[in-house]
Amino acid sequence: MARLQRVRRHFLGLNRRNHRYLARAGAVALRLVDDKLSTKRHLERHGIPTTRLLATCERHGAITPLVARLAETGAFVVKPARGARGAGVWLLHGCGAAGFRVPVGGPVSAGRVALHLADVVSGAFSRGRQPDTGLVEEMIRPHATVRRWSPYGVADCRILVFRGVPVLAMMRIGTRRSRGRGNLHAGAVGVGIDLVSGQSVHAERGGHALTAHPDTGVPLLGRPMPAWRESLLLAARAAATVPLDLLGVDVLVDRRRGPLVVELNARPGLTIQVTNRVGVASLLEQLAGVPIPADVGERVALGQRLYSSPCRPYS
């Protein structure tokens, strides 16, 4: 009974997320965040480092020359600009004699990649099935720790930010089942990260706790994240440029360029509470009532203080 109460009081459910935080969001801000291309331009305007865009593709006619060019590019990622939940994201690790190398399975022919881009452009993955833009981004070179964790693709860190204050963080590690993508729905592993120390504290996939990567057996717990403080500062800064209260900021740490914002999410998933074993509802309530400092460093410190405060549900 006590646990039932605890779930109800401390955890954020979809109904409450939609009412409190999504329904009040402005349509303009939502459009900005829902389109990865406009998000990227917005972040660049505000001087926030993001992954490099190699090409965009809006017309079917542009696909064939683009794929020919990509065959010489090396590793890259194909994404629909208005996709959701990682649908239509392909990771391609350069082109060999047999075709493009993918994280899981045999090589993929150039024709297949072109077909996928055609699906993306026709809107097979976009919200409302509207015609969409295909984005081609560089594949970043991850930090050694992250590389060991995630052999199939690049693991990014989802940082939940409320009113510019980082609240919770989780690594999303691609698996064979998720085809290297970092989407928990697709079968990726979520790893909760201690907001203060940057150490991994708990790992989950599909409702089961894990201690090691399900495909490689590499231990996932008790590891420090690279460039942790910088990542939090970047997430807090990026979130403050968008007029939305609740945001999921996806951060990748490049070996040379350091933390980069990959994308923003106006409808952050709620599983981050499970991978951290922390309900976020009461944290957000507390944050709603306090003055938010203007300085980024103070905002991060406030988030860390809240995360480790004794009034936290479990705690």
Binding site: R6, F11, G13, N15, A124, R129, A209, T271
Partner: protein, 385 residues
């Protein structure tokens, strides 16, 4: 015991209710009793006496109504005599509505006394009885209640206006049961809202379970579920094969539609040839609804992966079956016609649920382990590096 018992079930190929048959032109003798029944022959067989019984024991309320209407039309067109007494003895509104379906085709019963037997009395029998009185042209209409075995003229009370409205609709050729199905949708939408917001079931949109429930009502539960499963199966199975053809998503859906059309034709024709009951009366509407499903299945698979697509299909079917059961068991089709205030109630509840902030049922399960105190939980040990 000279009763000529006409077994009416979907087994017997009967005149379709769609084509309005000409009212009997030959002046017929009036005589005998005709009973509309939904009970099995064992239950009523001996007590029926010298009466012709039109019977449908189909499990689905709407299928029962249609079978009874078809049988009644055939009987009035071809039977040896016009009945002097028509006794409507069905457990729900199916019999009275069948009578209205017949009246909608312009058939009148000037020499007949209609007697509506109602086990519980109540608003439903009184109001439907009033509509029957207004449109059937019967000599007399009587409602027989539990404490009134002799019967009395229907007294719809304040619902007289409503009865006049529906009678007008029937007289102008509006099929009342279709109207009832339309008016059921807000109540079913409430069921879907409860399923999605309070429980957390995944479905193909809000409208998906509703139209599938309506399709189930016209096909019957068994065949509806079989068709649903077949279509989801085709969507999932053929995706693997179609992947090799390297088609664009739009073309892939077109191929799937082709397959679904062929499959459903095979089901209907094959079922009819093999004498499987019910399939030949599927109709266009449920076929379209079911075929439309293939696009949702296909795009869900592309977008969310196989597991989530199947879970969503299962959620859609589950809610559709709940909706079906509600319409069927509670005879919602007749009830929304007689009690339109139900729509007000369901809309009010939908507004309340739409404003509700609470946890969904599945979220309790989802967050259950995460809400455990660290001590009494088997927390995986931290591995030393």
């Amino acid at each position: 015991m000279v009763a000529l018992v006409v077994f009416v079930s979907a087994l017997a190929p009967l005149a379709r209710a769609d084509a309005p048959p000409r009212p009997p032109t030959v002046a017929k003798r009036t005589g005998g009793r005709l009973i509309l029944s939904d009970a099995s022959p064992a239950a009523t067989g001996s007590s029926a006496g010298a009466a012709r019984i039109l019977r449908s024991t189909a499990p689905t309320r709407l299928v029962r109504e249609r079978a009874l209407a078809r049988a009644l039309l055939a009987e009035l067109a071809a039977g040896p005599s016009r009945p002097a007494a028509l006794i409507v003895a069905t457990r729900d509104g199916a019999g009275a509505m069948a009578l209205l379906d017949v009246a909608q085709h312009g058939v009148r019963l000037p020499d007949t006394t209609v007697r509506i037997v109602s086990a519980s009395g109540g608003v439903l029998a009184e109001t439907l009885g009033d509509v029957v009185q207004r449109v059937s042209g019967a000599r007399a209409v009587l409602v027989t209640g539990p404490e009134d075995a002799a019967g009395h003229p229907p007294s719809p009370g304040r619902r007289r206006l409503l009865a006049a409205l529906w009678a007008g609709a029937v007289r102008s050729g509006v099929p009342l049961s279709l109207l009832g199905m339309l008016l059921c949708m807000p109540v079913l939408a409430l069921v879907v809202v409860v399923g999605r917001l309070a429980i957390g079931v995944h479905t193909f949109g809000t409208f998906g379970p509703i139209i599938i429930a309506l399709a189930l009502l016209t096909t019957g539960l068994g065949w509806g579920v079989v068709t649903f499963v077949m279509i989801v199966g085709v969507g999932v199975w053929m995706r693997q094969l179609l992947q090799r053809l390297a088609l664009q998503a739009v073309a892939r859906v077109a191929i799937l539609v082709t397959l679904v059309a062929l499959m459903m034709s095979a089901l209907v024709v094959g079922g009819a040839l093999l004498g499987v009951p019910g399939v030949q009366h599927f109709g266009v509407f449920p076929m379209l609804v079911m075929a439309h499903l293939i696009e949702s299945v296909s795009s869900a698979q592309l977008e969310l992966g196989l597991g989530r697509a199947l879970a969503t299909a299962a959620g859609t079917l589950a809610l559709a079956v709940v909706c079906y059961a509600m319409v069927d068991r509670l005879d919602l089709i007749s009830n929304v016609l007689v009690r339109p205030e139900l729509l007000l109630g369901s809309t009010g509840l939908t507004v309340l649920l739409g404003r509700w902030h609470g946890m969904r049922l599945v979220e309790y399960v989802r967050f259950w382990r995460a809400a455990a105190p660290p001590d009494d939980d088997a927390r995986p040990e931290r591995l030393a590096s």
